[in-house]
Symmetry: C2
Subunit: 384 residues, 2 copies
Amino acid sequence: MNFDPEKIMQSAPGPYTMIGGRRYLYFMGTGYLGLHGHPEILKAACEGMMKYGMGSATSRRAFGNSQPILDVEAKAAQFFGKEDSFYFMTGYLSNSVIVQALDGTFDLAVADESAHYSAYDAVHLSGRPVYKFISRDPASLDAVLREQCTEGKRPLVITDGVFPVLGALAPLREYYEVLKNYPGSAMVIDDAHALGAVGPTGRGSVEQSGLPWETVNTNVQPDNGPRLFVAGTLSKAFGGFGGIVPGSKDFISHIHEVSPYFRAANPVSPGVAAGCARALELVMENPGMITQLHDNTRFVRTGLRELGIEVADTPVPIVCVVLETVEMMKKVQADLMKKGILIAYNPKYSDLGPKGGIRIAVFANHTQDMMVQLLEGFARAMKN
Amino acid sequence: MNFDPEKIMQSAPGPYTMIGGRRYLYFMGTGYLGLHGHPEILKAACEGMMKYGMGSATSRRAFGNSQPILDVEAKAAQFFGKEDSFYFMTGYLSNSVIVQALDGTFDLAVADESAHYSAYDAVHLSGRPVYKFISRDPASLDAVLREQCTEGKRPLVITDGVFPVLGALAPLREYYEVLKNYPGSAMVIDDAHALGAVGPTGRGSVEQSGLPWETVNTNVQPDNGPRLFVAGTLSKAFGGFGGIVPGSKDFISHIHEVSPYFRAANPVSPGVAAGCARALELVMENPGMITQLHDNTRFVRTGLRELGIEVADTPVPIVCVVLETVEMMKKVQADLMKKGILIAYNPKYSDLGPKGGIRIAVFANHTQDMMVQLLEGFARAMKN
């Protein structure tokens, strides 16, 4: 198909990104730690590619395991403070990995109406009834559960931890309280946009919300509260590619037994895996990256607020700005683009209102000067 | 997790493959053209990786298109004689891409009982009723359709084109005849093991069966026969990674509109894409590869038959051998392994009988000497 040549990406995404022949100051996408073009990661990826080839061409049941895949799983386990992890071909299937592993332990699914497509795919695939609740509304969740969880039916609640355009955190604590009333309940959090980016040590929205991390992705049923599960990806903050589910040894072994992605699919291309293993090491060697991302996020949010723009007060590096009119948002986006600064205006997205919204992605390696350019561009565009 | 170190793959899969510290003559996996470690492919992959980074960290709706992805799509279109194609993160989702694109055009799904997990995922996800028919049995398909397709209900039939362990071809012509009785019917063929390997020019089981290729993956409804759809992968014969669906311009545009894998997922890692683009070029520059694969397949099948072993007479590079007893098959596998030759004994697989079977994968770059070693090893193991 012919895509607009002015929109073709010509470099790794990063603070500066080549698009359509032009070098842009880039505040888009999901590479929150700014790692997708990191030379050490790319070097590791190439070395892995040269040694192990394009793929194993067989599943992991037999000879399809290679060291880069195992390295990613070991290092992700270390980063997340879990015993093991499962690394697979795409983050899109992360929710499915978990929901498949929970088969037989829930009777119905209840999903945030704005949850990601992949969350809906995962629960629809389970064959259980699927209900929706109003996005980020614990009272709505409560009402749906009251109505549907008759006769001790065990609900599986699924939600994004961080919504991809709005950047809002799901009210996980409130959901947790609601779910205490439903024995055997489970909460599955698609934390694609939060892992590596949100929470004091980058463990995502569960860490941010103060819920117990220890029982996440285990076979343990807490005495007083729902089971917690987190689905992740290495394609966003971590600068890599592929889905990741860290968890207890038992839980990961169970996934190996039941997941067709383990038994009947190729593992990730080994060069990509080698790059991801190095990326996870880099993040662990430099925990300051995550702190810097939080500082940058605060800087941009504060700066926008000083311009009189209403911005939510969250530590999420996705900053959503809804201005008075659609025209105003389009103008700001276009003006900034002319000045070589890219932000997104999304006219429509599941988690946005009727006007849509501007989405600004903050990276750990955006410098203060870059962020000042963004804020000044914003100020100029809104004045004219 | 701790995997058996003797089973860890330490090189690209190819005629010789390093596993657990030992170099094996390798007749396993799915790399039928022997390309996963081809130096030109790996060079292209590394160059792509260095230029475009680990991933676009954004979907293809906005700036997530890069030249390597577009190159793969153009070259796959060329190889398959189609106007366009859609390249996405994993072949596992290939059936889903097609079934999603057909939403609203079928009322129920009928699947070969031994079809791949991913075929079942695709039809279950559609939310339509799913029925099974006896594997490779047109009469069983006919019976199920007669029973279920009341009131003009339009069936979608889904099957593997080539079964992964048995190596059998689905009787597509017979299905096609059956489906002529059902207006609006569709047949979806998971041709993962056949594309690039089976058929005079490598277009897979549709080409092999002599069914009309022109209407495959188009929006055209043939006057007299079902619509035909083929789901593919670049991870097997083509020596690459990721799912591929070639098709008409209209059909691919429709996929762009409806597929969440286009709109809400990262495209394939660009280095991997660059490698795949080179792989497709190589196959087109050297059509002799495919002929060689067919010759090698005939050589191995004939050789086994000369040893008194019953082997199906098909051009599929997956040779399945079922010996008298499980013990005998285990012994042959173990004896060959001791001699440094790897074949698989699968005790259990959806397309196999109760004894399981030996699976031999033939590659285009297995030399005659290598195949003779395999056959001699077989002869020795069966004698002792």
